[in-house]
Every structure is written in C-alpha cells, then in structure tokens.
C-alpha cells in the first residue's frame, strides 16, 4: 500500500484506487508518512520548473475576489469531551461475524489531519463511487465519462448531499464494516437523518436493516428500519431525528423479520459521529 500512497501523492491513481487509499490512510501511520514524504519531494520538483512571472492583473483579480469572499466561520469550540469515551459493547449474541464496536476507537474516527485535504476528496470520491455503484469499486475514469451524462441528475443530488458534510452544524458518521471498508454514512441535518448506502449488500426480503444510535453507558436505541435493493446506492431517510440527537455512534445491523428488535442481532457496520 505504500506504493499506492506515492501514487496518491502524485494524484495519479484511478478513482477506485484513490478511494481505497483514502480509506486506508487514517489507519496507517507509515502510509501517511509516505504521502507526506512524497509530497515534500514532489513539491521540490514543482519548484524547479521554469519560472514564470504571473501577470500583475492576477494579483488584482485575486485581491478583488478576496474582498468579496467571506471566510468560513470559525467553528464553535468543541465542548471538552472525555474523548474517546469507551462505549460499552452491547450484549450482542456471540456471533463471530459481528463487528465489535469497541474497535471503533482504533479505526472508526477520521483523524483531523484528513480534514484539510481529505474532506474534499472524500466528497469527490464518494460522489463518484456512489454514483457508479460500489458493487465493484473498480470504477474507471473512462466509464465515468460515459456514464456522467446519464447519471448526472443522480450525481448532483448525491454531490449535494455529500457537500453537506462540509457544512457547519451537519453531523455525520462514516460507518465501516468488519474489514474497515466504509459501507454507509449517516448524515444529520435540520432534523433529517439520512442513511447513505455505499456498499451494503441487498437484504433478503425476510430481513431488514436497522439503524441504531449508541451512547456511552446505554443500550443501543433502534432508530428505524430500511431496505437496500440490488445496486441501490442512494440515500434514504431513516426515522425522524430530533435537533438534539446526540448519539456518539451509529451502527447498522441486519435483522431477521421486518421489525427492529430491542437489541441488535448482527452488526454489519458502525462508526463515530463527527460534526
């Protein structure tokens, strides 16, 4: 993967590879170091091109645009939280396939270093990957070109949704499966709770997915049921979200029957909430 990290720093990977590296980096210090070192080397290459003086008008235009552009408001200082608060593992049945929520402290939280460059890339990559279906992540740029028109309407909706990740006050959680692959996202905005499937398998008709909210020292709360059809990668509202919803984590389980049980049977994805 270190080799891919260099390709990532070069901005020379295909969209599916780029996404894979993006999801890998938060969990791998050596690849992050490889990216940083490669960026340092490459920026040195960028500095030895033949020098060209930018036209003076460019500075004027820039400063004029700056004068008309408001800065993004400073995010409100976070209330000091005892973080990460260990979330007790709910008493799931002893199913070897379940995803232990207590692994999330290690893997579920997107580190802050990703926020500068990564958020934009997450937005772009998610839109691409989601639109072109994650059934196989092997999305090729050429296919993207061909499908762009046909999918543009859906892409716009999806892009808008993902763009909201960057809006102040929008809470979200990236939900990873047992192998740390991100398979779903939860977005909370203005009393709306959207579950956004990126890689959830279609559920059998006699099963349902259930979204759970999890707080420290409390049992998981079932928030609603939803279905994922074949090749269905879109978003859907799940349950109603009060403005004050303050779960620390979300999890998705697959349940037999059509109703949410009182506690999750098999957790397929989970992740911590970020603002």
């Amino acid at each position: 993967m270190t080799q891919q990290a260099v390709g990532w720093a070069l901005h020379a990977l295909e969209p599916d590879e780029e996404m894979a590296v993006l999801l890998h980096l938060p969990h791998c210090a050596s690849c992050r170091a490889a990216v940083a070192e490669a960026e340092s080397v490459l920026s040195a290459l960028g500095g030895v091109v033949a020098a060209a003086e930018p036209p003076p008008a460019l500075r004027d235009r820039l400063m004029s645009a700056v004068a008309q552009t408001e800065q993004r408001p400073v995010p409100a200082p976070r209330v000091e939280q005892p973080e990460p608060t260990p979330v007790p593992v709910p008493s799931y049945p002893s199913d070897g396939r379940r995803h232990r929520l207590d692994e999330e402290d290690r893997a579920g939280r997107r580190p802050s270093w990703l926020s500068s460059r990564g958020r934009k890339l997450v937005a772009a990559s998610l839109a691409v990957v989601a639109v072109l279906s994650v059934g196989g992540l092997a999305v090729r740029a050429t296919q993207l070109e061909q499908q762009r028109d046909a999918e543009s309407a859906q892409a716009e909706g999806l892009s808008e949704l993902i763009a909201r990740l960057d809006e102040p006050g929008t809470k979200h959680a990236m939900l990873a499966g047992a192998d740390n692959t991100m398979v779903a996202a939860v977005l909370l905005d203005s009393g709306e709770r959207q579950v956004y499937s990126l890689g959830l398998e279609a559920n059998p008709h006699d099963h349902t997915y259930v979204l759970w909210g999890i707080k420290p020292d409390a049992a998981p709360v079932p928030l609603g049921t939803f279905d994922v059809a074949t090749a269905d990668q879109g978003s859907r509202p799940v349950g109603a979200a009060p403005q004050t919803e303050d779960f620390a984590q979300y999890a998705i389980s697959i349940e037999p029957g059509r109703e949410a049980p009182s506690s999750p049977t098999e957790v397929v994805a989970s992740g911590q909430v970020e603002v």
Binding site: V6, L10, S40, V48, M63, V66, Q71, W113
Partner: protein, 218 residues
Amino acid sequence: MAEVADAPGPAGRRPRAASARAHDPADELLVARIVDGDQTALGALYDRYGRPAYSLARRICADDGIAEDVVQEVFLAFWRDPRRFDPERGAFGTWLLTLVHHKSVDAVRRESSIRRRTVPAAEDGDEWSAPPGPGADQAALGKVVAGQVRDALGRLPAEQRQALALAYYGGYTQREVAALTGVPLGTVKSRMFTGVQRLRSVLGPLLGEFATDFGGAR
C-alpha cells in the same frame, strides 16, 4: 506532522529536514493573520508564493489563462478556509504547491485539448537534466538547492524520470502512463515509487530548506 515525522521509516531519516519543514515563522505569522481575516496578509502570502505557484500551474496546464485560474482558485480557497492548512503537517510551501499541482492536474484532465499539447514536453523527461535557462528558478530558489534538485532528477534512470514526468507534469494517471509507455501498470507504479524514494534519499537534507526557500528568496 509530528506523528508523521516521528513515524518509523528507512534508516537515516533526517530529523533536521522534518523540523525545518514544520517551521517558517514568516509564513506562520501570515497564516495567523489570514485566519484573523487580514486581507493584506493574503496579499503578502501571494507575493511570497504566487510566482512558484503560477510557474507550476503554467507548466502543467500549458495555458496561461487556465494557470491563472488555478492559482486564483487555490489562494481564494485558502482565504475562504485558512484552517485547511495544518502547520503540524508540514511547510506551507509544500502544502500550497501540492494543492496547485492537484488543481492543475484536475484542470488538465478537464481539458483534453490542453492535455495533447502537454504530452511532448512531459514525455521527453529531459528538461530536468538540461542546465537551467536564464531567468529560470534561480530567483525563487537558492541556486545550490535548485541545482541539486536538478542534478538528482538528472541522475534518475530515464524510465523513472519519464514515468514521474508524465504523471507529475503531464497529469496522467498511472494507468494512462502504462498505456502510453507500453509497460505493465505494476511496473509503472514501481518506477514512480522507486523514483520518489531515490529523490528523497538524495534530497532529504535539502527538502526543509527548499520548502521555505520558495518565499524567502523574494
């Protein structure tokens, strides 16, 4: 960048370079003023970095107008949200040129006509081994540093230099480079990886000085 600088790596890492990367008091001061909404500080930052940014964008885009758009977009994005740059992760110059590179590549990929014009220049890969022409980077970089970067590039095996040139200056993906050069994708990945590693091992001690030299010499 503390976690990265401290990360284990090949023997002989250069802590000096890492610490130099993390510090440029002049930049840090300007960035802090920009965070506070000081427009003149953004102008000052542009005066330090506008030239290398424009030079790189122009090299990749091969179009003055698009290069100007890229540079404006990069600086304006930084103004809009200066917290995008995290001093802990490295020098401002490195961060900015990385952003300029990525935005330029994105622009090139949107403009296939530009791409075609870029191919020949990127493909030869010889530009680095040639002595710098008059008025080249000398004003923006210490002569010694720039010369050593060029030397290091010139000493790379030709196939590694070509692969890196196509990707970095041409904006080609590794898969496209494989198709263009007729070698397997895995080989292309390996060439780029090895090329960057070699450059790093040669240039390592200089990289920190380099990053801060973009603006300092102006």
